[in-house]
């Protein structure tokens, strides 16, 4: 088993939480893991990405080779497109449709979505709306993780456990909220893939 994942978003949108969940789940399943994170400058509202690799055999490089990622998981639609050169031709894009507009020349969101929809395989979802239904828009990143969950080759229960572990310190309400978000994202993906 081997999954190479690009996580994408804007600094502050919570892609490191997604990475942490997948990482915890991978460790629980005794998989090897490498994760290249972005710290520093670009965390200030800039484009951020993380390379996450999980596999049953040891992993050599911290970076995924171009054109070889199995998945792009993005919490922002334009950011999912920025890493297309990394994606394998048969790879999936799992992206939120909600734009994060913090630059003056952000393109029309329809144009952005059209570009995603031109790709081979994708799931786009209104993660903010789904998260709001679950209780708080703050869990949109976990909704996106839920939508990616059928593609990760990880047991859904280990992902649930990872979410519980990650949010445990924030109280039961927050754990419940994020488990709901994870489930809602997963259901959306199963209906729309």
């Amino acid at each position: 088993m081997k999954k190479d994942i690009i996580l994408a978003g804007v600094g502050g949108q919570g892609i490191l939480s997604i990475a942490a969940c997948i990482g915890l789940a991978a460790l629980a399943e005794n998989l090897f893991l490498k994760q290249a994170e972005v710290h520093g400058m670009s965390q200030r509202g800039g484009a951020v990405q993380s390379h996450l690799r999980i596999a049953s055999d040891p992993i050599a490089s911290d970076l995924i080779p171009e054109g070889k990622a199995d998945l792009i998981i993005s919490v922002e639609p334009m950011e999912s497109l920025r890493y297309l050169p990394m994606l394998h031709r048969n790879g999936w894009i799992i992206s939120s449709m909600n734009p994060f507009v913090n630059i003056p020349d952000y393109p029309q969101v329809e144009v952005v979505l059209d570009e995603i929809w031109k790709q081979n395989r994708y799931i786009t979802l209104d993660a903010d709306a789904i998260a709001k239904e679950c209780g708080s828009v703050k869990s949109a990143n976990i909704v996106v993780l839920g939508a990616a969950s059928p593609f990760l080759d990880l047991k859904y229960e280990t992902l649930q456990n990872a979410v519980m572990q990650l949010f445990a310190s924030k109280g039961d309400d927050i754990v419940e909220l994020n488990l709901k978000a994870l489930q809602a994202g997963k259901e959306y993906a199963l209906k729309h893939s």
Partner: protein
């Protein structure tokens, strides 16, 4: 663990007594790990931030003098600041184990340049370790303390951003006891008077062979056989992973000399050179090993690497760059669609720096653009639209002194903007120069009460800025503290305007807590309250 965390844990396990550092991406997380480690607390490992890298290096040297193990961590440009202490520490030598961590940033993810710290190691004539993965980062740090105590020399460990900030599982070693207080056997060892320094320098030169032998025997330089001798690979640090990534069965057909410790053992290099028709050198950073191999005239075997275009001259390596240098097919994905816009980093919503620069911009209108020297920190982002306020960012502390020089040249008024942490890092001596020069400059010390850019570490300047300024000789009537808030905008503009007209040193301190640390404090308070309730 992150590579940074592996280094921190290894130092704890190796019996370090003090870790010294000034924050700087990608090295910051080493110290942060020690600061929150319960184990480090229990062991009473000293772990407070220093004012800058030079003071950190010197404090570590002092701890080593007293016989205990010390580690000092910095980003690559920090080693420029600490260089005087670092280079001379090679002449004094170490008593307790002394390990210096320099974190390079090839591709300049968060830096002004991509200088290669291995040059400093070579320059200082010290051993260098270069881990290729998180486990090696751990193992080498642990070993570095031994090596330092065995050779009685500081040891440099060089990492890069990619290793510092990527995670993988790490196996740890048993905890060693810390050293006890023990003065150096020779109480003149650290007195670098010429007569003593000459002797010490000879001793350092005399240890070079032992350093090379150690690099051959430690196991961190490895030779891997390969059937295809048309090419031999010299691979430093992380580059080894990129080679292996290209051979899914992890079997590279070419012989490989994998370098993790310097000085490079000549015997091992010679074996590869003799065995193979040509050599490909793969290293992150500058082509240091490649240059050594080519020599000045490059008249030997065909050598390929960064200097002949087999690999780009700048930027970090990756699996695909290495694939093409190996002559392997390179995978490609789809191109980035034309509609994708750049998204550069920017000041946070609610950041006080924005209001400070809006006021400065307005006050400067009368004088036109090109007069604002700045420094390194979040506020450097004010160079970009929409603010476009500043005209320089060179090295920490340079804003004030560059303004002095420009004013000397006739650019009056000249302005300097500098963050609070940068001010105590290297701005205080600059301000002293300005005052002694009676320079007609206006200095804005942007006080967000933290070291913002690197994630909000305690700033050495906290609560001390006015007193420092007064102590250095800033006149009280030209020292102002303002609130960088929209509602005080007009008032602030007036103060800045007035001081721009003053023909001497003025200091204005826009003070408002960083929005990130403020939010963090609020969140911590809220969860503490929740905890108390339940």
């Amino acid at each position: 663990m992150l590579g940074d965390e592996a280094i921190a844990q290894a130092a704890i396990d190796a019996g370090v007594s003090g870790v010294y550092a000034y924050p700087g991406t990608p090295s910051t997380e080493i110290m942060e790990y020690v600061q929150v480690s319960d184990q480090a607390k229990e062991l009473q490992i000293r772990s407070l931030w220093s004012a800058n890298e030079k003071t950190a290096m010197e404090t570590a040297l002092g701890m080593s003098y007293a016989g205990k193990r010390a580690m000092v961590c910095m980003k690559h440009v920090g080693l420029n600041v600490a260089a005087d202490a670092f280079i001379n520490s090679a002449i004094t030598g170490a008593n307790g184990g002394l390990v210096v961590i320099a974190a390079d940033d090839p591709s300049m993810h968060s830096s002004q340049n991509e200088q290669d710290s291995r040059f400093y190691g070579k320059f200082a004539l010290l051993p260098i370790l270069e881990p290729g993965n998180q486990q090696e980062a751990y193992d080498m740090t642990y070993y570095a303390f031994n090596l330092s105590e065995q050779l009685r020399l500081p040891v440099l460990l060089r990492i890069t951003t990619r290793l510092a900030h990527s995670r993988s599982g790490v196996e740890v070693k048993p905890l060693r006891a810390q050293n006890t207080l023990q003065l150096p056997g020779n109480l003149r060892q650290y007195v670098l008077l010429p007569a003593i320094a000459r002797k010490q320098y000879k001793a350092l030169l005399g240890k070079q062979d032992a350093m090379e032998i150690e690099a051959e025997q430690s196991g961190f330089n490895q030779y891997f056989e390969g059937e295809n001798k048309r090419m031999g690979l010299v691979v430093c640090g992380l580059a080894y992973n990129y080679v292996m990534e290209n051979y899914p069965d992890r079997k590279c057909p070419y012989p490989i000399f994998k370098i993790g410790q310097y000085p490079v053992p000549r015997q091992m290099m010679n074996r590869l050179y003799e065995e193979c028709d040509s050599i490909l050198v793969l290293e992150d950073g500058y082509p240091i090993v490649e240059e050594l191999l080519r020599g000045m005239l490059d008249k030997g075997k065909l050598i390929r690497g960064r200097m002949d275009g087999a690999l780009p001259r700048d930027g970090e390596l990756n699996p695909n760059l290495v694939a093409s240098a190996l002559g392997l097919p390179v995978s490609v994905g789809n191109p980035i669609p034309g509609i994708v816009r750049n998204r550069p980093p920017k000041l946070c919503d609610g950041c006080g720096h924005t209001d400070a620069f809006l006021a400065l911009n307005e006050a400067m209108k009368k004088y036109g653009k090109g007069r604002v020297f700045s420094d390194i920190g979040c506020y450097t982002l004010s160079a970009l639209p929409p603010l476009e306020s500043i005209n320089s960012c060179v090295d920490m502390g340079a804003s004030i002194t560059m303004a002095v020089g420009a004013a000397d040249a006739g650019l009056i008024p000249a302005v300097a903007t500098i963050g609070d942490s940068t001010f105590t890092h290297s701005g205080m001596t600059s301000l002293l120069d300005a005052i002694n020069n009676k320079a007609p400059i206006t200095v804005l010390i942007l006080d967000n009460s933290t070291t913002g850019m690197t994630g909000g570490q305690t700033s050495s300047a906290f609560g001390k800025i006015e007193d420092i300024c007064k102590g250095l000789g800033v006149e009280e009537e030209h020292l102002h503290i303002i609130r960088p808030l929209r509602r005080y905008h007009d008032e602030n503009v007036e103060i800045i305007k007035k001081e721009l007209e003053y023909h001497g040193v003025s200091v204005i301190i826009p003070r408002r807590e960083c929005i990130q640390t403020l939010n963090r404090r609020m969140r911590q308070k809220a969860s503490a309250r929740k905890l108390a309730k339940s």
